[in-house]
């Protein structure tokens, strides 16, 4: 049955295209969108600053630190304790151990049933985009699909070396992998809606608060 429908649809496409006046092929000029891609690489401080400004423009919070101590300090300030879900990147656990947080419950990449009870989710990222303040999460590298989505607060830890300047660069980076990961997610700020009288409301389905801690040095 499915095959019949497939043949019918493809057949209909072919016959209607054939009936049509031949299309006068326009020359596709490519690469307009990538005009700014080949600027000189900027300094770490500059690119971190650009990321921070972009993220804050969409109501995200950004803390720039210089070392692991700085990350631990920021984590302590943002998380007041409670139930914390973290991704399976061992780096997160190592950094949490540097804090003196009183953690009520710690879940490592909780599943779809358990994730709902956590107050905070902590993950790293696979890349970030400075021009838009975007985090790029690749689900084959880290189990952070739910940790970054379900808890009301998401904290992402980013290394300056992971920040690219443009969306175009990151899209080609993703494509470079031989096999694209089954789930790649771009996150730009906390969840938002304006569906009621166009009034902005933050945190409708995804996290209400998004914190990004950038280690500017490493």
């Amino acid at each position: 049955m499915n095959n019949t429908a497939r043949e019918a649809i493809l057949g209909s496409i072919r016959s209607h295209l054939a009936a049509s006046v031949p299309y006068d092929q326009q020359e596709i000029s490519r690469g307009f969108s990538r005009m700014n891609a080949d600027q000189n690489p900027s300094s770490s401080v500059e690119i971190c600053g650009q990321f921070k400004a972009s993220l804050e423009a969409v109501d995200g919070h950004c803390v720039i630190v210089q070392d692991d101590g700085g990350i631990a300090e920021a984590l302590t300030r943002i998380i007041h304790g409670g139930r914390i879900a973290i991704s399976d990147n061992p780096e997160i656990l190592r950094l949490l151990n540097l804090t003196d947080l009183e953690i009520e419950e710690l879940g490592i990449a909780p599943n779809a049933h358990d994730i709902f009870r956590f107050d905070v989710g902590v993950s790293t990222v696979q890349a970030a985009i400075a021009e838009t303040g975007t985090l790029v999460l690749d689900s084959t590298r880290e189990r952070h699909r739910l940790v970054s989505l379900v808890p009301p607060v998401h904290i992402a830890i980013v290394r300056a070396s992971q920040i690219y300047r443009t969306l175009s660069e990151v899209l080609s980076l993703i494509r470079k992998d031989k096999e694209i990961s089954p789930a790649v997610t771009f996150i730009t700020g906390p969840s938002r809606t304006a569906d009621i009288e166009l009034t902005l409301a933050i945190g409708v389905h995804g996290p209400q608060e998004l914190y990004v801690i950038i280690d500017e040095v490493n």
């Binding site: 493809l10 072919r14 049933h113 694209i180 789930a183 938002r192 409301a201 945190g203 409708v204």
Partner: protein
């Protein structure tokens, strides 16, 4: 459901014009979206080039749609997605109902999908015994109110916070409030419970990449991520025109779509889904089904003018720019797709007989063409459709009148006689009342140019 019919656009529009609250809401929404779009487009130095590039990519896809669809289906299929082909809405609904029944699903969560609105999937699922929950905030509100969407990207803009508070009070038992944040958080809490319990998540698709088999969905709320991450089965429904050849093409479209829709540089989330998870223990659904829907689309390929309607990326910019939509809103069109793009797509999808009024719901001012991120020549499409409708639907009296007018204009003597007659008659009979109700008719001058010339 309180569906208006596109056959009665004239009456629907009249009723909408009498609704002062609706017109206020429309004015706010369309002007705000319009201004934001303008600012966002101006923030890029090469907006016009991007539009041309996007259109060229769409034209390339559409002129080889069979090849790109097969490439997409094969690449998504080889990565674990199940591909289903549906000739029309009924077939798509039957496929989806069969899938959910076979898996003994009870609760289905949905993220916003115009395509499933087009097929009336919710009615079919409910008839099959499923509980269907729309999770986009605007869609959730109108589902509770049992109304159709009134705008492509802001489905509930026709409702005030007061009306929504009353609705939540009646349906969810929430105390009355005029606080949008509290209304939003109540919806969040109620819907979380449904997300946790759902067996199946149904989403739309913004872009489908042929070379990788990837589907891309863009959003702000996070309900699409929840819909496509939590339930064990994900069903994505897409029109066959959503294919793009290369992953790199996303660059252009991700710059154009959010800026044209809401004026954002990028929406909060983009999900790139390529097949199913690799290990059973990985996060995400066990099954991914992609339903490819034709439903009249392949027919539109037959003519280069109608074909361009398939380039639409559903941003809603033409709605906001349209002086007709700005006054009457989405419901008056009596169609899932309102506004200028709705006036060209609806007659082609649903049949020109049922929506013959829609191509006339335009002043042909061209504002829609100016803002369209993929440069669809909507006014030309409207004229093309009008030319198809006129011989079938045109009134006999109207055709006769134009024939007579042609005869008169071709003969100097008839012209002279008729202008004399016209000068006398225009004072005695009301002419073209339907036309003059909304406009002034210039009276024929007491002396014609010919007469003035010979007087000299």
């Amino acid at each position: 459901m309180n569906h208006l019919s596109s056959e009665t656009f004239g009456e629907n529009a009249k009723a909408a014009l009498a609704d002062s609250h609706l017109r206020g809401a429309l004015k706010n929404a369309t002007s705000l979206f319009g201004e934001r779009r303008k600012a966002a487009a101006a923030s890029l130095p090469n907006w016009e080039d991007l539009r041309s590039e996007a259109r060229a990519i769409k034209d390339e896809v559409l002129s080889h749609l069979d090849l790109y669809l097969e490439e997409f289906a094969s690449n998504a299929g080889s990565r674990g997605a199940m591909i289903h082909w549906a000739r029309d809405g009924a077939e798509a609904n039957a496929i989806i109902c069969a899938l959910t029944i076979a898996r003994k699903a009870q609760i289905v969560v949905k993220s916003k999908s115009m395509t499933t609105e087009e097929t009336h999937l919710n009615d079919a699922l409910e008839a099959a015994g499923m509980q269907v929950v729309e999770t986009d905030l605007g869609e959730y509100i109108i589902q509770l109110a049992e109304e159709p969407p009134s705008h492509i990207i802001a489905p509930a803009i026709h409702k005030t916070r007061g009306q929504i508070a009353e609705l939540f009070n009646a349906e969810l038992g929430m105390p009355l409030t005029d606080d949008v944040a509290r209304l939003t958080s109540t919806a969040r809490a109620t819907l979380r419970d449904r997300f946790a319990a759902a067996d199946v998540g149904i989403s739309g698709v913004n872009f489908a990449i042929a070379e990788t088999g990837t589907i891309v969905v863009v959003e702000n709320e996070g309900n699409i991520r929840l819909t496509t991450s939590l339930p064990r089965i994900h069903i994505a429904v897409m029109g066959i025109e959503k294919v793009l050849p290369r992953f790199a093409d996303l660059d252009v479209f991700l710059k154009l779509l959010p800026r044209s829709g809401t004026g954002q540089r990028l929406t909060t989330y983009q999900s790139y889904i390529t097949g199913t998870k690799r290990q059973p223990t990985d996060e995400g659904p066990d099954e991914l089904h992609i339903v490819l829907l034709d439903n009249g689309r392949s027919r539109m390929l037959a003519h280069p003018v109608t074909r361009q309607s398939l380039a639409c990326i559903r941003c809603g910019a033409c709605l906001n720019a349209c002086p007709v939509y700005q006054q009457v809103g989405g419901h008056a069109y009596g169609s899932v797709y309102p506004g200028p793009i709705g006036a060209v797509i609806t007659p082609q999808l649903m049949g020109i007989e049922k929506s013959a009024q829609l191509p006339y719901a335009s002043s042909l001012c061209g504002a829609c063409r100016e803002v369209c991120p993929v440069k669809i020549d909507i006014p030309r499409l409207l004229l093309h459709l009008r030319a198809e409708i006129a011989p079938r639907k045109g009134k006999v009296s109207e055709r006769l009148a134009f024939k007579m007018w042609a005869r008169v204009m071709m003969s100097p003597s008839l012209y002279k006689v008729s202008s004399v007659l016209g000068r006398i008659l225009q004072r005695l009979v009301p002419v073209a009342k339907a036309w003059t109700n909304g406009r002034d008719l210039r009276l024929i001058e007491s002396k014609s140019f010919h007469e003035l010339w010979s007087d000299e």
